[in-house]
């Protein structure tokens, strides 16, 4: 019995809701249908129709998810954060057989993780019968490995962006008056001030976070034997339609090209109102390599040193100082 339908909303409203993490009007009824004992979905969302987007924040995942939500029969689960629960690094020192995620009982708890996710998806998207559910989960990328292992039929998008631009974007967002600072303040939480008081330490911390999140997602991508694709933010910006078509092609998800064209157009940078864009706003620059203007030389070096393994793999043109 359907108990909740995540309603489609217009682009602007969705973007605002997405940024602020608010829900739209929903209703709730009795208990939802649950997964069967074999771990398969009992209705609603099929695991093979789930597409997980991992990476890290500020890689364009909100933009990509907004486009993926547009075609009929497609929906987006916006940052469930389930990956944060199942972060294996958090429990590295608890390797004993008593630990709830002990390797000796992996088959048991992987099934539990699978049920946990499918129950959650079915409750939220009961009408998506046969449709596709993109799960925008950059903030839960630390748990990408276990999630993809629990749901091997699902598709995976590894969404990446130059770490220097990612860190520059966070630095802007978290400065006084930045959208992230305002959001934290509104939530009654301590507004992050390190970006103001010690920007170099802030840069170091966020470069570490990039390595942790994207590194985890990268390892999950490597291990995942199902459908998967790497998408670079820079390619999305340069040729949005071509990149999205490639993404769906590699994921083997049929989508009408006309629908994609419409989705790409609707969510194009050019269609975001000017007053919603700029410094301190969620939509800031969308300019690859803008880090050259945003970060100091020292900050660039810090990011390059910390994220070297990923930078070399995905952006193999050498450090900034060699490129002039």
């Amino acid at each position: 019995m359907p108990v909740f339908r995540h309603p489609k909303v217009s682009g602007a409203a969705r973007r605002i809701r997405a940024v602020l993490g608010l829900e739209a009007g929903v209703t709730r009824g009795a208990l939802v249908e649950r997964t069967g004992t074999d771990g398969r979905s009992a209705g609603g969302v099929a695991p093979e129709n789930m597409i997980w987007i991992f990476g890290t924040g500020r890689t364009g995942s909100t933009w990509l998810a907004a486009m993926m939500e547009e075609p009929e029969g497609h929906d987006v689960w916006f940052e469930p954060r389930v990956g944060t629960i199942f972060d294996p690094q958090r429990f590295q020192r608890h390797g004993g057989k008593h630990f709830i995620l002990a390797s000796q009982y992996k088959d048991v708890w992987l099934r539990s993780i699978r049920n946990f996710i499918l129950d959650g998806a079915n409750a939220r998207f009961p009408e998506l019968d046969g449709g596709y559910l993109a799960v925008k989960e950059p903030g839960g990328s630390v748990g990408a490995g276990l999630i993809m292992e629990a749901l091997p039929e699902s598709g995976m998008v590894l969404l990446i962006r130059d770490p220097r631009d990612v860190v520059a974007s966070w630095l802007d967002a978290t400065r006084k008056g930045g959208w992230q600072t305002r959001r934290r303040g509104e939530g009654g939480r301590r507004a992050e001030s390190l970006a103001e008081t010690n920007p170099n330490a802030f840069v170091r911390r966020h470069a570490d976070a990039y390595l942790q999140h994207v590194g985890s997602a990268r390892r999950a991508y490597e291990a995942h034997e199902g459908r998967k694709v790497v998408v670079r933010y820079e390619d999305l910006r340069a040729d949005t339609l071509g990149t999205i078509k490639r993404m769906y092609g590699e994921l083997n998800v049929p989508v009408e090209e006309a629908k994609l064209v419409k989705a790409v157009e609707k969510h194009a940078w050019e269609n975001i109102p000017e007053e919603e864009k700029g410094r301190g706003k969620f939509y800031r620059k969308a300019t690859p390599e803008a880090w050259r203007e945003d970060l100091t030389r020292r900050q660039v070096k810090t990011v390059e040193r910390i994220t070297a393994p990923l930078l070399e793999e995905f952006y193999p043109t050498g450090p900034a100082e060699q490129r002039g």
């Binding site: 993490g21 929903v26 608890h94 630990f99 539990s112």
Partner: protein
């Protein structure tokens, strides 16, 4: 609550919440030794879910997309319930079998998630094990200095213990530990207050003063069967006096077992720090002993 999946019965689970260094290893060792009882040593399932719910993303509880969002509370509590019961049944098949006895779950370091676990498993029994926060902090201060049992533990896991605040900035360490006490014991106390099932509050100090009598009270209040002779034997076996002298003392897992030992271990400033941070719980749990 959702239907059971078979296997482990929730009423056969006995959760021990509190925080580290409250005597939970000792208590659970005594209970796990008695016939018909087994011990699950720190599954950390409370930490698994509690960390996201209370610390990492507590601000998102009203967001319908959040996996632990309020709108779907009943659903995910049911999933946590299955998660625990399936895991327990896999590890302790003898108890999962019909009439198989009780499972003592020592979970002090998962106490952050105690309210979620007890809400998911309302038929389960619960022990809230507490100890004077000043003694808890003093014990942790000793444990986290260089060359102590915590370093040995890490070495066994193939790692070297990094330098600790316990040595470089002891007052800051004390403050951090007092906060941890408030987080863990505070949430365990919330779970205890809300739990409608069988439960008992146990003070470490009472366990030290009269172990057998306190143990008998635990079994009585939790309505669990136990042979007094069995219990007395287990209490005797795990008594402080039976621990070899070379395994006891400063820097060891078995340190002092002395209520009020904080007076020798903490500076006046450090005692004040703990009382300032954990004062509310201290007054509630130790109404007569709340002042130095």
């Amino acid at each position: 609550m959702l239907e059971e999946n078979g296997g482990m019965r929730p009423e056969n689970l006995v959760w021990v919440f509190g925080t580290a260094r409250t005597g939970s290893s000792w208590l659970s060792a005594i209970m796990g030794e008695v016939g018909g009882y087994s011990r699950w040593h720190e599954p950390l399932v409370g930490h698994l879910f509690g960390n996201l719910y209370y610390e990492r993303a507590g601000h998102r509880s009203e967001d319908a997309h959040f996996i632990l969002g309020a709108r779907y509370r009943e659903l995910w509590l049911g999933t946590i319930r299955r998660f625990v019961l399936d895991s327990a049944a896999a590890r302790f098949p003898g108890i999962a079998a019909k009439g198989g006895g009780y499972l003592i779950i020592k979970e002090p370091q998962g106490s952050m998630g105690a309210p979620l676990l007890m809400e998911a498993l309302p038929e389960s029994r619960m022990i809230l094990l507490v100890r004077d926060p000043r003694d808890v902090v003093a014990s942790n201060l000793d444990a986290h200095k260089g060359g102590t049992w915590t370093a040995d533990l890490m070495r066994k896991g193939g790692k070297e213990k990094p330098p600790s605040l316990a040595e470089s900035r002891p007052d800051a360490f004390v403050k951090g530990q007092a906060r941890r006490y408030v987080r863990d014991v505070g949430n365990a106390k919330k779970a205890y207050d809300a739990h409608g099932g069988l439960k008992v509050l146990v003070r470490y100090e009472d366990l030290r003063t009269d172990t057998l009598q306190t143990m008998k009270r635990i079994y009585s209040e939790l309505e669990m069967p136990v042979e007094e002779a069995d219990l007395a034997r287990s209490v005797e076996k795990h008594s402080w006096e039976k621990i070899p002298s070379e395994q006891k003392g400063e820097g060891k897992f078995h340190r002092k077992a002395k209520p009020g030992g904080w007076r020798e271990d903490l500076t006046a400033r450090q005692a004040e720090i703990v009382e300032g941070v954990a004062g509310s719980l201290l007054r509630e749990l130790y109404p007569v002993r709340s002042t130095a």
